[in-house]
């Protein structure tokens, strides 16, 4: 037996501050057509043991946010134009690269949205999981393999022992996603960013995976950022919800509140679009219109061109993320009226 | 003929075995190229003959001071009046390295084996002066009628025609005696030839790597080899060998690359020297083509070449401009025998104009042998001085090159060379210029010349030289080939070799058996 290398010391920061805090983050992409402002002053806070669900329009910058937190944004074309990302009070963006590297995978870990391209096609999945143990914990080859089989079993891969040596392309979409999950939770991170972790999973497996994440959360007081479109899952597991639109957070609230009383028209629209399992076959309610072009952001509230309640104020002034009631904030000029359900849509916006 | 011992090597005090023991001995590593073969009767090139020269001793040897034949296995020889019958008396204590004794019969057997067409030995054609050659070659006879052993140590030759250079010719590699085992299995024989020379093989011939020989202590000749052992290192590339001598890995090399001659002195200081050789380079002219049948054209072409300029600038002085056909080191060679070999551009231009020489030329040479540069220089001079506008080159692999000659398809001046297998003016001329001879690529035919050569061959050696010179005059006047250069050879050696002991001969170049190794 080789004595395992001393594990890399886990990061000890300011325990009083929130686990993870994103402050006024700005991210841009340089494209031919101009500068695309993917993230425009994003603020979120994650506490230990908390599950923060990030919902939002497809293309609203959820994955970019996750990548920026992980420090794996492609630069160029990406570019962090401003803001801070604080992990236990310390800014990740100005941290020494080597120190930051040691946080990755160990303290802050991520499940990628696309499992197939995120897995190395030429390495066996078992190897890819085992790498976590081998590099960060100095575990030997055999032991790491055992551990990775255990991880695969944990995420419900059948016949894990036989399939550790298989390559990503030999797995189904959902199985790959579970491999990603196994890899991300291998070292019991403090913060787990899960970017649509269960899109390719059937509901039973999804439930199993969510239970697993919950367990970890309880065990390690892990903070979980869950990026998903599945409002069912969110309802099931989230403590707090942030709704994103066009690179900004539109509404942040406790999970119970937001389903019952959204305080932002976009959230309202989202909730209206959900198909029901008791499925009446009526048309689904989509929010009309297109999201704004990131290279050419509208003035004022980015949602105003599609908002049924919009007024001139909305196109003139960008609303701040302000409280509606305690712990429930919204970036809408008319948040209170919407919260209370008293605001009437504009005439012409009623389809 | 004469039995003049002629071994007047007064200049070389080291040759005395036993006398100057201090200087003798040691191992010399010398440059060599990979021999085609190590079968005396089959060896035609320099790499092989250099080795064979040490492994074998023929009936005669050559004294390179006087260019006369001196005793080898034969102690004495004489001929009849018209040089057609020769008697050689052999020394009695000669043996092969394996102990087999050598007598007159050894030679008879060797010669019969060599000419036997079944054995396909390349040097066979040297035997064509001996009576019965044709019959053997054509399969009509088993043995050469013209070679007989009258007793154990007397060998008689009967020749088809008078041939005074015979003793000289017999020094040639193709006439070395061979033991019986050579005839039984020639292929394995040449991996480790058993001869009767100053040195004997140590182990087999390591192809492309080396050939090692040790001094044969029982050699009965006059001046045995000085080094105890000679190792020829085989190189593909002379540049590399040169570097190795510079580095001291190799003791000596005798063919310094031409482009190195200018740096030779800087690289080696006193450890270098130059020697003249018999290696003759000429520009042949296909007389079977109409344009070249006018000898004025040939003269003009010759006079338009500034040989010295080419030698200075392309060969770094490593050639001697050829003003004759007989190599300068032979006693019969003369200076200024040639009227048309001196550079005279005006006369050349005029002559060429008058003779209406061709306005387009193709120059032929064999590729990959380093002839490009000087041929190009010649072409430039012809262009410049004779106003020939269009000169192109045809460079071919040697085999294909010879093919063109055989089929008389050459249409312009061609490069060829000639090295003396034995140092006789006869050999410098007869094979190349007499009517119908196989090396007569120019297709030259001149009755007067043919007669003069025959006359010289029949004459007493004392008179022969002047007749050969007359023959040479005809060549220089008729100019079937434009003499270009005689090659000089650079020799470089490491500090291990005593500089004074470095000696050359014009045929096999460095006399490696004379080298003295400095004590370490």
């Amino acid at each position: 037996m080789t004595t395992p290398r001393t594990p890399e010391p886990s990061f000890t920061g300011d325990t009083a501050s929130p686990l993870l805090e994103v402050v006024d983050l700005h991210v841009e992409f340089h494209t031919k057509a101009g500068v695309a402002q993917a993230i425009n002053g994003l603020n979120v806070t994650l506490n230990a043991g908390e599950t923060l669900a990030i919902l939002g329009e497809s293309g609203s910058g959820k994955s970019v946010t996750a990548q920026t937190i992980m420090g794996i944004l492609d630069m160029p074309p990406g570019h962090i134009a401003g803001g801070e990302i604080r992990y236990r009070g310390e800014d990740l963006l100005t941290m020494k690269p080597e120190k930051r590297r040691k946080l990755r995978g160990v303290s802050i870990s991520m499940i990628f949205q696309d499992a197939l391209s995120a897995l190395n096609p030429v390495l066996p999945v078992g190897w890819q999981i085992a790498e976590m143990f081998r590099v960060h914990q100095g575990m030997n080859r055999k032991l790491a393999r055992q551990k990775s089989i255990a991880m695969m079993q944990r995420v419900g891969i059948p016949a894990a022992e036989e399939r550790v040596g298989d390559f990503p392309h030999q797995f189904s979409g959902g199985m790959r996603q579970r491999i990603m999950i196994a890899m991300a939770i291998a070292l019991d991170p403090d913060v787990l960013i899960a970017d649509e972790p269960t899109t390719a999973l059937d509901v039973t497996v999804q439930a199993q995976v969510m239970r697993l994440l919950k367990e970890l959360q309880v065990e390690n007081n892990m903070g979980l950022i869950l990026i998903t479109h599945d409002l069912g899952v969110v309802a099931d597991v989230a403590d707090k919800i942030a709704v994103m639109y066009a690179g900004q957070v539109m509404e942040v609230s406790d999970v119970y509140e937001i389903y019952a009383q959204p305080a932002h028209p976009y959230t309202e629209g989202l909730l209206n679009s959900v198909p029901r399992i008791d499925g009446q076959d009526e048309r689904l309610n989509a929010i009309s219109g297109l999201p704004p072009s990131l290279t050419d952001m509208p003035s004022g509230c980015p949602f105003h061109p599609r908002c049924p309640y919009a007024t001139d104020l909305c196109s003139a002034e960008r609303p701040g993320l302000l409280p509606v009631v305690a712990e429930h904030t919204s970036a809408c000029h008319y948040r209170e009226e919407i919260y209370n359900g008293t605001r009437q849509p504009r005439e012409e916006a009623q389809a | 003929g004469n039995g003049d011992d002629g071994n007047g090597d007064g200049g070389n005090g080291t040759a005395d075995n036993g006398g100057a023991e201090a200087a003798g001995g040691g191992t010399v590593s010398a440059y060599n190229c990979e021999p085609q073969n190590l079968m005396p009767s089959n060896s035609t090139e320099v790499c092989g003959s250099w080795v064979l020269e040490q492994l074998f001793t023929g009936l005669t040897q050559v004294d390179y001071e006087t260019y006369e034949a001196v005793p080898g296995v034969a102690t004495d020889w004489e001929s009849n009046e018209d040089q057609t019958e020769w008697t050689f008396t052999l020394g009695e204590d000669w043996t092969f390295h394996n102990g087999d004794p050598i007598d007159a019969n050894t030679f008879v057997e060797t010669f019969n084996w060599v000419v036997d067409p079944d054995n396909a030995q390349q040097n066979t054609s040297f035997y064509d002066v001996i009576v019965g050659y044709e019959d053997v070659v054509n399969g009509d006879a088993e043995e050469l009628a013209g070679v007989t052993a009258t007793d154990d140590y007397t060998l008689e030759f009967e020749l088809n025609e008078p041939f005074s250079p015979l003793p000289m010719m017999l020094s040639y590699t193709g006439f070395y005696p061979m033991p019986a085992e050579a005839f039984e299995d020639p292929e394995s024989f040449e991996q480790a030839p058993v001869g009767n020379g100053r040195y004997q093989m140590d182990g087999e011939w390591e192809h492309d790597v080396q050939i090692a020989v040790d001094r044969y202590e029982d050699w009965p000749g006059e001046d045995p080899g000085v080094p105890e052992r000679i190792e020829w290192q085989i190189y593909n590339d002379i540049e590399t060998a040169y570097l190795d001598v510079q580095a001291g890995t190799l003791d000596i090399m005798d063919s310094v690359p031409p482009n190195r001659l200018s740096t030779m002195e800087a690289d080696f200081g006193d450890n270098q020297t130059m020697f003249d050789t018999s290696s003759f380079t000429y520009m042949g002219l296909p007389l079977y083509q109409e344009e070249f049948q006018d000898k004025d054209v040939r003269h003009a072409l010759s006079m338009a070449i500034d040989r010295q300029l080419i030698i200075d600038n392309i060969f770094d002085g490593a050639q001697v401009p050829a003003g004759n056909i007989i190599p300068p080191m032979l006693p019969s060679a003369r200076e200024d025998a040639c009227d048309y070999c001196d550079f005279d551009p005006e006369a050349a231009a005029e002559l060429y104009e008058e003779a209406d020489g061709p306005s387009e030329l193709t120059i032929y040479f064999n590729s990959g042998a380093g002839h490009e540069d000087w041929v190009e220089a010649v072409s430039n001079q012809w262009q410049e001085h004779l106003g020939i506008e269009n000169i192109s080159f045809e460079s071919l692999e040697f085999a294909q090159y010879l093919d063109l000659h055989d089929n008389q398809e050459v249409t312009g001046p061609f490069r060829l060379g000639w090295v003396l297998s034995y140092p006789s003016p006869q050999y410098a001329m007869e094979p190349i210029y007499t009517t119908g001879k196989s090396s007569n690529y120019a297709d030259f035919s001149n009755e007067e010349f043919d007669n003069l050569i025959a006359e010289a061959n029949a004459a007493d050696p004392e008179e022969a030289d002047s007749i050969y010179q007359e023959a040479e005059d005809i060549l220089l006047e008729e100019m079937p080939v434009i003499p270009m250069f005689f090659q000089s050879q650079g020799v470089v050696h490491s500090d291990r070799i005593q500089h004074d002991s470095v000696q050359m001969d014009p045929r096999t170049f460095l006399r490696v058996e004379q080298l003295v190794v400095n004590e370490e």
Binding site: H30, K32, P76, P77, L116, H169, A286, S288, G289, L290, P305, R306, A351 | E239, P257, N259, S262, T263, D306, L309, I310, N313, I314, N366, S367, G368, E372, D373, E376, A377, S379, N380, Q381, Q383, E384, I391, S392, F393, E394, S395, L396, E397, Q400
Partner: protein, 308 residues
């Protein structure tokens, strides 16, 4: 699509925007995008300019020198560079500057003809072999083995037998015949690496035939290594041409080419270094131009690596 458009029109809040923007949008394809980004790549511009100069030199050497490259008085042989002879003179006494300038034509021609041809042949055969696999692959690949096995000197010598005058084209042909297999194998390798991608499957699902798949999907994604090698290969060919000449099967002497100059200079490395230096600079510049260009092209064809 009545209801749909209605629904959509409402959703979009204005008449269908597509046609409006169609005019405004410049049509883009990978190749056009590549061209656009190439134009802005300084390395590309530099190498393009360099190539233009070299090609001009090959086509109109008179523009660069008044000296006759074939005026070679031996009396001024081996001169060092001087005001009169910028590059000195060579063994024959020719003005080396003029020689080098005039050498461009043959060298560039052989270099470009050969690399272009083997590129095309190699890409086509490698693509076909990898795409169809099975016996097609086996036959083509064994063919490459075969060509590898035949010594090219032998081929060249035999070719010579049926050829009396040798032009640039003949020399190129010999080189092409014996060098395409490397390209074919290189291409085959990168196609094999690409062919298992899902987008190829997707194209098949769309009903794309083999040709279309190869041309539109495989080619742009697998060309990189071959392009890179072809660029370098140009330089290798320029040298190889000289070898042939010295075996008597290359360009007919007294041809002028960089390869021949380099070859001649080899013997005088220490004595006359300028003989090596000047043609070498030109060959190096050519290779540099081609490789930079190849690389710029490769960069341009990779949407992800696009610098802005």
């Amino acid at each position: 699509m009545t209801e749909l458009n209605k629904a959509h029109t409402v959703a979009a809040g204005e008449p269908p925007p597509a046609p409006k923007k169609a005019k405004a949008q410049e049509e883009a394809s990978l190749w056009m995008d590549a061209w656009r980004s190439l134009r802005r790549n300084p390395w590309f511009v530099v190498s393009a300019v360099l190539l233009v100069v070299l090609v001009t030199m090959a086509l109109f050497p008179q523009l660069f020198t008044d000296n006759d490259p074939r005026a070679c008085p031996l009396s001024r042989s081996r001169q060092e560079p001087s005001a009169e002879h910028w590059f000195g003179t060579d063994i024959q006494g020719c003005d080396y500057y003029a020689r080098v300038i005039y050498g461009a034509a043959n060298s560039m021609a052989v270099g470009v003809i050969v690399s272009l041809s083997v590129f095309v042949i190699g890409v086509a055969l490698g693509l076909v072999a990898a795409f169809f696999g099975g016996w097609v692959d086996a036959v083509l690949m064994r063919l490459t083995d075969l060509v590898f096995a035949i010594p090219y000197l032998l081929g060249a010598l035999v070719f010579l037998a049926v050829q009396s005058e040798r032009s640039v084209w003949d020399v190129s042909l010999i080189l092409i015949v014996f060098t395409w297999p490397t390209f074919a194998r290189l291409m085959r390798g990168s196609v094999l690496a690409v062919i298992n991608n899902d987008y190829i499957t997707a194209a098949r699902a769309l009903g794309a035939g083999p040709l279309t798949i190869m041309r539109r999907h495989i080619l742009p994604n697998s060309l990189g290594p071959v392009v890179g090698y072809a660029a370098v290969f140009t330089g290798i060919v320029i040298g190889a041409e000289a070898t042939l000449t010295f075996l008597g099967v290359g360009l007919q002497l007294p041809a002028i080419s960089w390869g021949l100059q380099l070859d001649e200079a080899k013997s005088y490395l220490q004595q006359l270094p300028h003989l090596l230096t000047f043609p070498l600079i030109f060959v190096a510049l050519t290779v540099f131009a081609f490789t930079s260009m190849g690389e710029a092209l490769r960069d341009a064809l990779d949407p992800k690596s696009k610098k802005r």
